[in-house]
Subunit: 326 residues, 4 copies
């Protein structure tokens, strides 16, 4: 199939390459002309503008937009839609908020155009390993795009099969992509994925914190342990219940430096963690772990909260706190 790729950063560029390897044709556009040139060197068709891309796109045009979420993606979708024709498909492969997808899908549907949202996990290894994808959009449109998704996905590989998974069920999940539902469903599932990711990361972080703190001189001497954290991460990778890819990464980092001294500990968050909590609240689902994991990141980025000063001020107020009973 022929597909216009808009946004040739690390993700978009590598996806285009993986698609071309599988025999698809890529019309490539990026504001950065050098990024376009590089991809042309790998076999892509250059486009000098969105309008130029449209000319080369074929009919119906299939657009894969791979830009930072929010206003930039919105602007591009609008621009594509402005010159689009019925039957064209716009795929947003970035990290959009799923409610933006719903809005965009409605706007495009008024022109007979289709909108498909794709949440992607797999990061920088995707070119080689393939991209795990969660897809939202109209059933038949997603079906028509299957050759594209199949080419991007990792495939079954050598990951052991899930117990009870039968032949004859939808094979896409086992190949690393799913059609999650209508507009927004793909990004919604990817959003929850990232929410979970925050929780998993924080669980490991707290555990290693407790291991490290066990060397504290404030503890009784026979209860102090100076534990080799790299070795712990390593041994947990090997047959334990908590082995995971995130633990593998932790083992890499601790093996390089058991004190992690090059890291500040100011931890950013992208929007997905927050959106996940908003979704939980809209459903009245208690999500304590995912929330507290997000808040730990907020707290990591300031020296002190104002709230902590309020606590100090109250303690000063009831005064006796330096004495015995409060």
């Amino acid at each position: 199939m022929r597909l216009v790729m808009i946004g040739l950063g690390r993700m978009g560029g590598n996806m285009a390459r993986r698609l071309m390897k599988a025999g698809h044709e890529i019309v490539a556009f990026d504001r950065d002309a050098q990024a376009v040139e590089k991809l042309v060197a790998d076999g892509a068709i250059a486009a000098s503008s969105v309008d130029d891309a449209r000319v080369r796109a074929g009919s119906p045009a299939i657009w894969w937009v791979m830009l930072p979420h929010g206003e930039i993606t919105d602007g591009m979708v609008d621009q594509i839609a402005a010159g689009g024709s019925a039957g064209d498909v716009v795929i947003d492969g970035g990290n959009s908020f799923y409610k933006d997808d719903i809005r965009r899908a409605k706007a495009l549907a008024e022109k007979g155009m289709h909108y498909v949202d794709v949440g992607t996990s797999g990061g920088v290894w995707g070119l080689e390993r393939g991209y795990c994808m969660m897809i939202g959009g109209p059933k038949d449109v997603v079906q028509d795009l299957d050759p594209i998704f199949a080419a991007l996905a990792p495939g079954m590989g050598n990951i052991p099969r899930t117990v009870g998974r039968k032949d004859g069920t939808d094979p896409r999940a086992e190949n690393g992509y799913i059609h999650a539902g209508p507009a927004g469903a793909g990004h919604f599932v990817k959003m929850v994925h990232n929410g979970i990711e925050y929780g998993l990361m924080q669980a490991y972080a707290e555990g290693f914190d407790i291991l490290k703190g066990k060397a504290s001189e404030k503890l009784p001497e026979d209860q102090r342990y100076d534990i080799d954290l790299a070795d712990v991460a390593e041994v947990w990778r090997r047959g334990s219940v908590i082995s995971s890819w995130l633990l593998d990464l932790t083992a890499d980092a601790l093996t390089a430096d058991g004190k992690l001294e090059k890291f500040s500990g100011n931890v950013a968050d992208s929007g997905e963690g927050q959106w996940t909590i908003e979704a939980a609240m809209e459903e009245a689902v208690p999500a304590n772990v995912l929330t507290t994991a997000l808040f730990a990141r907020y707290r990591s980025r300031v020296e002190h909260t104002f709230g902590e000063k309020v606590l100090s001020a109250m303690r000063f107020g009831f005064g006796g706190h330096v004495e015995m009973p409060q």
Copy 2:
């Protein structure tokens, strides 16, 4: 009644004074001879040592120990017990761990001595307002000490009566003291009191943090408010659902300086918060608010946790985090 007061700090000294005002006799001992002298000036009988106090104590001797919890109190109870006689009473008015009370009560019972634990709230205002007390120990012993507790307690004052509280029920609670149960029960109730206190304080702290953060320039301009926090605390004191003594203290502090600049925000915790969580876990009671309030204090006292560095290291590991999808 005659009572030996051991430990004449701000709490012990003022309790002794309040007891003397009510007509009780105080034998006063402290390692700091000046503290003894001061209290003698207010009418107490000086004791130069524990043994000296014993001579002056009368029979049975009643000892009120008002020392920092832990080993110091343990040592004093042992010392008193070593020379004590059947029928003597040792009252621990400090912040002991209730399991220590249980242990001490058993040890004293072997000698026919009695042990009473008293958790006290009221801090530095107690001399004037009286002390709110939670008492553990044998029923008849606590009853015999009633004149002492009645003198220390605030009494009914002008606090409106609880709806449905009937005459004829145990009047002690309305007068500001209760017999909570056998050995340790007094300190247990006081411990939970302090656990709740942490939770309440953190709730206010987070609320004021959110109010203050609303001035942030990262928010859309029409959603930014530069709110006068002292005025907010003030107005909430006046007829709102969340009025409380802790809010009164917050209003004091914010009125003095709305930015609380003299406070660092490094917030200490005494043992009670931790013990409360241990008790919750022993009972399998979920205590999320009390726990997270305690943990906020831990976090306030370090620049960064090691766990935050682990998070940064993982994020670095999956690499694509500076790009779009993770």
Copy 3:
């Protein structure tokens, strides 16, 4: 002043009565004609419709809308605006979301009309005690309405003055109302107030849970206490650090029935708790206590979460969990 009161439920009706007592004139409208009649009996001017109210409102018309938040209030504001004139003032005294206030204020401003949002605490006792109010809107408009706010507010009463509060500062806070900022600021402060309220309530709830659980037969016999919870609540009201109005209510309830058997424990939440968390996330403020308090309510309303079944399924999966090490 003359003011149209729309919505004569328990809150609106009593506010109207308090205003009339202070000499203000009320034009009263409610869909329920009986509610109008009742207020007319107390001195109000009846209005049979919004248009009828407009005729009797005077100029500029001042409208106090006291309806459930959301679409109903939106509809009423639209209806008032449709027939309104420059200079008219619409006051929303309900529990609107502050971003709705911002939107409405902009819409009214296009017609030269003013919008004022008032968050109110004080509930059913307000008629007698007065209403604690947090006000958002243009400075001069709020100033012009001062006679109304002053009449509704509790006034200084016999609540002790905050330490350091000086004569000559804005006296409104001490009288129980504040001008918090531009459109939405009143409801924003009230929203955070309710968020804090959830946190405070949960702190007490957890504490009493731990006290009650201490009677469990699973604990060692000498560590079991059968604590009289009504007495505990009572004694904490009297001189302790955690005395508050919410504790007073708890004492009332526990005095009536120490087991609280008439309560199911399915705890509702209104929108403010959720909005508070959203605000915290927009500001990147960690709000663990307020969030977990909200989530405890979600959890209280279901028999089991699906997540708990997922946990059970995983435990079944790694199988050894009924045996020794996992």
Copy 4:
């Protein structure tokens, strides 16, 4: 080497078998004579009692105790110690509390005996895959036992090597076992492992809860998704950041029944989760995720907490809650 295995349940029995396969000799004892017979059929030497085992143990005797933690293990260690000789080694392979290890190691050291604690992960798959082990005890004793640990461990297998792991460093971690430190360190690391496990499980549980709740009819119709959870678990296993063994188990369960109807959702916890939180508190490490994961299990096992009734009672108290503003 020759080793006495005490406790031939699923774990102890399979460990003995794995050791015999590697050429070690097992003296087998269990209160259940049938369990002994089974292992004898696989090549073990039968022991009819602890004393009988001692006779057959060789010198120095090496005892591997694989019993439920707490009093039962304590009793067995005492019994072994009572008849033991200097140089004998007692290995506790169960889930003991690390402070019990410290105590036991001291008691045994007085007789010249050695104590080694081994935390084991790997559960029912261990016979085939090997056991991931965390070991505490004296360095030379642990070194002398290396042939045993090497035989039990999974070995390097086909798990990719951690980046930066160099030849020449301690090879044990890569083979699936570590010497974590002195007495108790093995069980301490295993305890934290289980604490993390709770956190990871809860993160997935909350995520799937949010996905499932997205079908709720309370949501706007275009924001409802009826997501196939088995497919989601499957696709996340394939190249996503959150792939893990726990996710594999979740995929198994959801593939069998996407509604998990056979599970009640009453989730047990063993002691390790609680001990992990106690350790965190002793170190003043904030461990919000691990704690809230534990508390979610507590909450799952009761219909309602008493705390929830306290909340309901307060809400009833301020009364206006069914009306508008509180």
